[in-house]
């Protein structure tokens, strides 16, 4: 099973320090080592992003930063797990590792069945 973990946290005003980057790099390496982390990326400040919305047939674009939002998306991870519980456990570890307040939304990814009867 695959899960998408979307990490949301209060946006910081300062870029991560070299030490934080190194720590995160090591953590990602460890997670890759277990075979559980398929892909992960972290986001640049929301000032560089935009929200594109469709409403009643009209599409609007609102450029970042998303100052009105308490928490914004900070990154994502794509996890390979044997069960939802395992994905939850991996996500708990990630949150404990980064520290601070934040939330991960965990969603199971649809995978076309590869099983077939002979």
């Amino acid at each position: 099973m695959r899960f998408l973990s979307i990490y949301k946290t209060v946006e910081r005003k300062t870029p991560p320090t070299q030490e934080e980057m190194d720590r995160m790099g090591k953590y990602i390496e460890e997670s890759m080592k277990s075979g559980a982390l398929l892909a992960t990326e972290g986001c640049l400040p929301s000032a560089l992003g935009a929200r594109i919305r469709s409403n009643g047939g009209k599409i609007t674009v609102i450029d970042g930063p998303f100052t009105e939002a308490k928490e914004v998306v900070g990154g994502f991870a794509l996890l390979q797990a044997g069960s939802k519980e395992e994905a939850v456990e991996l996500t708990k570890r990630f949150l404990a590792f980064v520290g601070g307040d934040g939330e991960c939304e965990l969603r199971q990814i649809y995978e076309a069945p590869a099983l077939a009867e002979r």
Binding site: E29, S34, A39, G82, A116
Partner: protein
């Protein structure tokens, strides 16, 4: 959390933690069987305590600390016993004395080295291939005996016995807990890779049971392969195996048609290939190639898989490169099955006659007499050469050999077309 929620959480934690736990404990107690027992004790303790107390914040550390206490108890008991049996010698006593002292140090050491040692123990040549597979899945994949039995469609007691015997053989042979070095490493590593490949293949083209593929087994093998690749980043063949598995697994969804029929590579809907896995596979292959040296058999198979993965349509396939890769593979690991694949590549690259020449050279191989792809490929090449009479015979033979109903229909259809003087493909 309800008790059953906690149990599911414990299962998940076990799957994540057990390999590291057992690896570390094996170093402490010097015996993989005892290490696993001690780890299981810790698991039982968790199952007893956590439903009441809740799952601790750092469950891995909890399991490790609990297991460590049990390991110390075990070592002290063993030591007391040894005092009574002095014939066992001072050396073992000293070793265990040291092991107790090492316990605290070991907690802080990187666990990677121990994991790697555990990999080599589980795939040790004193064990049968079946035992290696069972022990690897159990110790490193975190699978239960029941899960392994289900995956290989073998009764649970058979697997349980296989694991018990394997652990006993390792103890009896006094297999050291270490990563082989020098010349031994290559042979031992290839045995490890063979175990992972076997698990993957059993998932990819199940030899037993109703299901044609069992993706969970592929996933287990890929997890093991990815782990090994990070533990041994300098071994090109490990990356080669990972590349091959990632890319082959990328086609799992496309290999089965809407009504469950197998779909051959060139007929697959390539938009259904898993781009993420292809990307990972190509990256793994690049790592193997960056390490230099000639391609080993896994890197070659990875490169072959990559060749197909890079082609957006079957027509874009670089068949000339495939013939070269199959030539190299046939030299390294000659086998009639490789020859049949090589023939297909030659036929696409240089015309059906070139392919037929290779197929005819192996057609008499006893190993291929039940292999339905041989007459099926030969029939196709003959039909493309306009030799419909011979082609028809081959298609009929292939139809009689295949165990797959839909494939049989397809082959009989082609045989009928040949009877009418058409290639029918």
């Amino acid at each position: 959390m309800t008790p059953s929620d906690t149990h599911r959480a414990i299962d998940a934690i076990w799957r994540i933690e057990s390999a590291r736990l057992i690896a570390r404990l094996t170093r402490m107690v010097g015996d993989v069987g005892i290490a696993e027992d001690v780890a299981q004790d810790a698991l039982v303790a968790a199952l007893e305590t956590w439903p009441e107390s809740g799952v601790p914040d750092n469950p891995g550390a909890w399991l490790m600390a609990t297991a460590k206490h049990r390991a110390i108890d075990h070592l002290r008991r063993a030591k007391r016993l040894e005092r009574k049996h002095e014939e066992l010698g001072l050396e073992i006593e000293e070793r265990q004395e040291r092991a107790v002292q090492d316990l605290d140090v070991a907690i802080d050491d990187p666990v990677g080295d121990d994991l790697l040692r555990l990999v080599f123990i589980a795939c040790h040549p004193v064990l049968s291939t079946e035992a290696r597979v069972a022990l690897t899945l159990r110790l490193l994949g975190g699978l239960t005996t029941e899960e392994i039995a289900r995956a290989f469609l073998v009764p649970v007691p058979t697997i349980a016995q296989r694991i018990v015997r394997a652990k006993r053989s390792l103890t009896a042979a006094r297999v050291p807990f270490e990563v082989p070095r020098g010349e031994e490493l290559a042979a031992r590593l290839s045995s490890v890779l063979a175990v992972i490949y076997l698990v993957f293949n059993e998932g990819y083209s199940a030899t037993a049971g109703d299901a044609w593929v069992r993706p969970e087994l592929c996933e287990d093998a890929m997890r093991l392969g990815r782990m090994l690749a990070e533990l041994m980043p300098g071994e090109a063949e490990v990356h080669g195996l990972v590349a091959m598995m990632e890319i082959q697994a990328s086609r799992l969804r496309a290999r089965v048609g809407p009504s469950g029929e197998p779909v051959l590579l060139l007929d697959q809907d390539r938009s259904r290939w898993d781009k993420l896995l292809i990307g990972r596979g190509l990256a793994a292959l690049a790592r193997a190639e960056q390490l230099g040296g000639p391609h080993g058999p896994y890197a070659l198979q990875g490169a072959i898989a990559a060749c197909h993965a890079r082609a957006r349509t079957p027509e874009e396939t670089d068949w000339t490169r495939l013939t070269a890769l199959y030539d190299a593979l046939a030299q390294l690991t000659p086998s009639p099955v490789v020859e049949v694949n090589r023939a297909v590549a030659y036929a696409f690259a240089f015309g059906p006659a070139a392919g037929l020449e290779i197929v005819d050279a192996v057609a008499a191989e006893p190993a291929l007499q039940e292999y339905h792809l041989l007459p099926s490929v030969r029939g196709d090449l003959l039909a493309r050469l306009g030799r419909f009479g011979e082609a028809r015979v081959e298609f009929e033979r292939a139809a009689a050999l295949t165990r797959n109903t839909r494939e049989r229909e397809l082959l009989l259809g082609r045989a009928a077309a040949c009877a009418g003087g058409k290639p029918g493909a």
